[in-house]
């Protein structure tokens, strides 16, 4: 096996200075949510670990995840694709097509057997032997199984690859599912979201590239650094929730004043994602900041938890909206307490599950 180059070697090869290399490491350290004392470790990792080969395949999807990936602000997509990883197979960006492209995939799988990162975007169509998603004359299931076999790490990008996504919503016409059951029992890093935040996408692949290991994940396989908090926990509108100040209808006085969107169906309280802290476009906004209630797009079954502008009791983990609203309206403290209790209940529920199937 020929030696693959490290990030530092890649910087050297492309004629960058040591200074710009270190700058890149600083950006990555903060991107990956590490404190600055991790900086030397990031530099060390970047200097010594080989430049990873990435194979990116597409099942039932909309290419929104690819698009999100290239929107990354730090690192920039051009830097990732041309300097940090070797993206050998990707339907969106690769120059080649047809037979030579498929042959290159096979060569890459053989040459880097056991070493490459497999990024998967899109769900697996399982009905009727997978004929609803064909590529290169084969089913996507065939491609996924083939590519998963020699993968060092598998990343499920987006809610489709993680959980089945939009096409798996009722009545799931093509029998679509997440990729986990089709990768021969290998651990899958799930990066849900429809799509995931750009810097979360590049952050996960950079973690694998730099540290040569999967990022620490929760029981569901989601990187803790990006999916450790509910949006509600980090939402800048949280004080309005706690104070019982809600937008009652779209564009009412509360909506204009940027109050809490809970009563308009916001799924922030049950959605684990980085929208509240990282936000989109490096802090520019996220749906709630733009006045739109969260639809919970990183949750496993969110497409069937509609209607989105209503908070149905069975989906509202904090209980009935009117009761909560009334309680908060009358006595804020009671609402806060109620919320705290609900949060604790939910947290316990989650931790029990983590204990139950801790498979790492």
């Amino acid at each position: 096996m020929e030696k693959r180059e490290s990030l530092w070697e890649a910087y050297l090869r492309r004629g960058f200075s040591r200074r710009s290399f270190l700058k890149g490491c600083v950006a990555l350290t903060s991107l990956m949510g590490f404190s600055t004392d991790m900086f030397s470790k990031v530099v060390e990792a970047a200097e010594t670990k080989p430049l990873p080969v990435v194979i990116w395949i597409h099942g039932h999807e909309c290419t929104g995840c690819d698009e999100s990936f290239i929107r990354s602000g730090a690192p920039l997509a051009s830097d990732v694709v041309l300097s940090s990883i070797a993206l050998e197979y990707d339907h969106l960006l690769s120059a080649a097509c047809g037979a030579p492209f498929e042959a290159h995939l096979d060569e890459t799988i053989a040459k880097y057997n056991g070493q490459y990162i497999l990024a998967v975007e899109g769900a697996v169509a399982t009905k009727d032997s997978g004929v609803y998603c064909m590529s290169g004359g084969h089913t996507f299931t065939h491609l996924l199984e083939k590519a998963a076999k020699g993968a060092a790490a598998i990343i499920a990008y987006g809610s489709c690859a993680a959980y089945g996504g939009i096409q798996a919503a009722k009545p799931n016409p093509t029998g679509s599912a997440g990729i986990e059951r089709f990768v021969g029992g290998k651990p899958v890093v799930k990066v849900p979201g429809c799509p995931p935040i750009p810097e979360v996408m590049t952050g996960v692949v950079m973690h694998v590239a730099l540290f040569g290991s999967l990022p620490p994940c929760d029981s569901d396989g989601r990187p803790k650094q990006f999916f450790g908090n509910r949006i509600h926990d980090t939402c800048y509108r949280r004080p309005f929730f706690d104070a019982g100040m809600f937008a009652e209808t779209f564009d009412d006085a509360g909506a204009k004043a940027g109050w809490c969107l809970y009563k308009l169906g916001c799924r922030g309280p049950e959605t684990y994602n980085s929208c509240g802290n990282l936000r989109w476009w490096q802090g520019m906004s996220y749906p709630i900041q733009s006045g739109a209630p969260c639809i919970g797009c990183s949750n496993s079954n969110f497409w069937d938890e509609d209607p989105f502008t209503t908070r149905l009791p069975q989906y509202g983990k904090l209980g009935d909206v009117d009761k909560i609203g009334a309680a908060l309206g009358v006595l804020t403290a009671a609402g806060v307490a109620g919320h705290a209790v609900a949060s604790i209940v939910q947290r316990n529920q989650r931790e029990n599950l983590i204990d139950e199937d801790h498979h790492e």
Binding site: R14, C62, S94, M134, A169, S285, S290, P293
Partner: protein, 632 residues
């Protein structure tokens, strides 16, 4: 005869396969198959859902033209429910739509299409100093300064301007050299770089284009920020039926939209104008002029005989598409069909598309003769989308197995795309169609009091015709014309952005901050049964969403999308669709390396996930996977 399969076609959205039969003695394509090879069934997913949520589901048809389907969806629901949206909401939606158009076209040209024309390998023999000279020459010769009559110019100077120094190009060249030397070619692996087409352009053009490929990869994210400000994210920004969720307030401390947020939008709009005017258009014209000079005006296909567009950008908050409000109120009145354009504009025939046409049972319809669906025995051959019945019927390939194809069956069914028709005929859609319609209408005196945007389109065509040295009828309906008109459309959309931004500011200035009409928000205000249609002249062409609502729920939802019009399988009466005809009018130099086929297909900017999601049969409940990690 040689049978050539290209699968997968890359640098597109989704899964597309083409098969062509090439006469290797003269390079002509005698038959061509275009097949959408995946089907997700999203319209079935929409059944029985709340119509107010439809935009969120159906937007997931496509993450490349994200926003397109959300916009067509809210328009269709509002048409069905009889909702007029506020002025501000109309302006904001138009800005988001035009922003998408600029960004989508820019990405298409540089990141999806450019590598069909330019090669990093050729760039290696470029002289950096000569490349800098070329950049200056290109900017001198090909900058086309056309602008909207603007209220205020908020940009002090063009912030985004191409570098034209030898050092800059030497740096780019060194990087390309290093990548090639390393043997790890990444995204540049395994392509037909030795194809003679890459020798058409001098090395310096290749180096300049590669540099701009990289720059635009970094910049594209910045011009889409209006989606992030108004819709919270991108891809897949948020909408709401009845207006927009992004409330405006200049008096509250925490409003979604205030002066500072609008300034972000303003900056993105200015940047988009700069990128199109200083990079995209000059690059395109420089490459196009060389191709035109080499006589490369093939690949026209169906554009020569029939194109269709819907028109767009409602000037005010309108009410009703199927009742005519939409068409009465357009900035670009390209709604109509032009036939026989290639015979000369005198002989071309223009037919408008009206609100009555949308409702007529036999004007717009879809057939399934060669698609993997079947209609009931008693149904007509083609069905109007409101009456659309679709039932999947997968028949496998001609040779190979159902899960391992060798060749598809052109005599039978071979695609997951239906075949859309206008008056029983097939049409090409897209920016090219949009421009052909406006050009033909103007030439025939059918464009009274042209708007500034329509005037700009005519001027653009005039300028490009002059540079290429051939008439519009010659260069437009070709592979090159398709790619060129997309660029003109980007320049136009960048100005349309500015136009509606100025309108938005002027309206807010009057004290109007409303973005939402809540009158018909609750289902008790809706008719028990109603139908609607939503149109949008999307980046890839005329898009229509068709909805039937019954008892407050969606009872039927159909989309006829641009890529379905273009990539559809043939019809035994109506003939071949646009992709197939384009391939059949393209010369292939080396059948084993059919670069021209991939190039002509990419000149349409394919979006397969958009095209292959038709389903509204009486679907059975099947196999719902429980993936909820809390719900076990």
């Amino acid at each position: 005869m040689q049978h050539v399969v290209v699968d997968p076609i890359t640098r597109i959205e989704g899964h597309l396969r083409v098969e062509v039969t090439v006469d290797e003695t003269n390079g002509t394509v005698t038959d061509a198959i275009s097949s959408g090879t995946a089907w997700r069934g999203l319209e079935l997913v929409l059944r029985d859902r709340d119509p107010r949520d439809a935009w969120a589901y159906i937007q997931r048809i496509c993450g490349v033209c994200t926003t397109a389907h959300a916009l067509a969806s809210v328009r269709s629901i509002e048409d069905a429910l009889g909702i007029a949206i506020p002025l501000n909401a109309n302006y904001i939606r138009n800005i988001m739509a035009a922003t998408l158009t600029v960004q989508d076209h820019l990405i298409h040209f540089y990141h999806l299409h450019a590598l069909d024309w330019v090669s990093p390998v050729e760039a290696l023999s470029a002289d950096p100093a000569k490349t800098a000279e070329l950049q200056v020459a290109v900017l001198n010769a090909y900058r086309v300064d056309l602008k909207v009559p603007e209220e205020v110019n908020t940009e002090a100077y063009p912030h985004d301007f191409p570098a034209a120094t030898p050092q800059y190009f030497a740096g780019i060249k060194a990087r390309v050299q290093a990548i090639v030397a390393s043997g790890q070619l990444g995204i540049f692996s395994a392509h037909w770089w030795d194809h003679p087409d890459y020798k058409l352009l001098p090395p310096e053009v290749h180096l300049m284009a590669v540099a701009h490929y990289l720059e635009m990869l970094d910049k594209q994210r910045e011009i889409i920020t209006p989606h992030v400000v108004f819709g919270g994210k991108n891809p897949h920004p948020h909408y709401v039926v009845g207006g927009m969720p992004c409330s405006i307030s200049l008096t509250d401390g925490n409003a979604p939209i205030n002066t500072a947020r609008l300034a972000i939008v303003d900056r993105a709009i200015n940047m988009a104008r700069d990128l199109v005017n200083n990079y995209y258009l000059p690059d395109l014209v420089a490459i196009g002029a060389i191709y035109a000079k080499a006589g490369r005006v093939d690949g026209g296909g169906l554009a020569r005989t029939r194109v269709l567009a819907f028109g767009d950008y409602p000037l005010t908050g309108y009410k009703g598409t199927s009742s005519g409000g939409y068409f009465d109120n357009l900035l670009v009145r390209s709604n109509g069909v032009v036939e026989n354009f290639a015979m000369g504009v005198d002989k071309a025939v223009f037919t408008p598309v009206t609100a009555d046409d949308l409702k007529a049972p036999d004007i717009i319809s879809e057939g399934v003769q060669h698609a993997w669906y079947e209609y009931p025995d008693n149904a007509p051959k083609d069905l109007h989308p409101w009456k659309g019945v679709t039932k999947d019927k997968y028949t496998g390939p001609k040779t190979g197995t159902p899960t391992m194809w060798e060749t598809l069956n052109e005599a039978g069914k071979y695609s997951w795309l239906k075949t859309p028709k206008w008056k029983g005929k097939l049409c090409e859609v897209g920016p090219l169609a949009h421009y052909i319609v406006i050009y033909t209408k103007a030439a025939k005196g059918l464009l009274p009091d042209p708007t500034w945007a329509e005037q700009m389109m005519l001027k653009q065509i005039e300028v490009v015709s002059k540079v290429l040295g051939v008439s519009a009828e010659v260069w437009m309906p070709t592979m090159l014309g398709r790619t060129a008109c997309r660029c003109l459309d980007a320049q136009l959309a960048a100005e349309i952005n500015k136009f509606f931004f100025d309108k938005l500011i002027a309206n807010i200035k009057t004290g109007d901050t409303t973005v939402m009409n809540n009158e018909k928000w609750t289902p008790d205000t809706w008719a028990t049964e109603c139908m609607g249609v939503g149109l949008y002249e999307a980046p890839r062409g005329g898009l229509s969403h068709w909805v039937c609502i019954k008892d407050g729920k969606i009872s039927n939802y159909q989309c006829i999308v641009p890529t379905t019009w273009n990539a559809c399988p043939r019809d035994d009466q109506a003939g071949h669709g646009a992709y197939e005809q384009a391939m059949m009018t393209t010369h292939v130099a080396i059948p084993d390396k059919p670069l021209e086929i991939a190039k002509v297909i990419r000149s349409f900017d394919p979006c397969m996930a958009c095209a292959t999601h038709m389903y509204n049969a009486k679907g059975e409940e099947i196999n719902i996977f429980s993936t909820d990690h809390f719900g076990r």
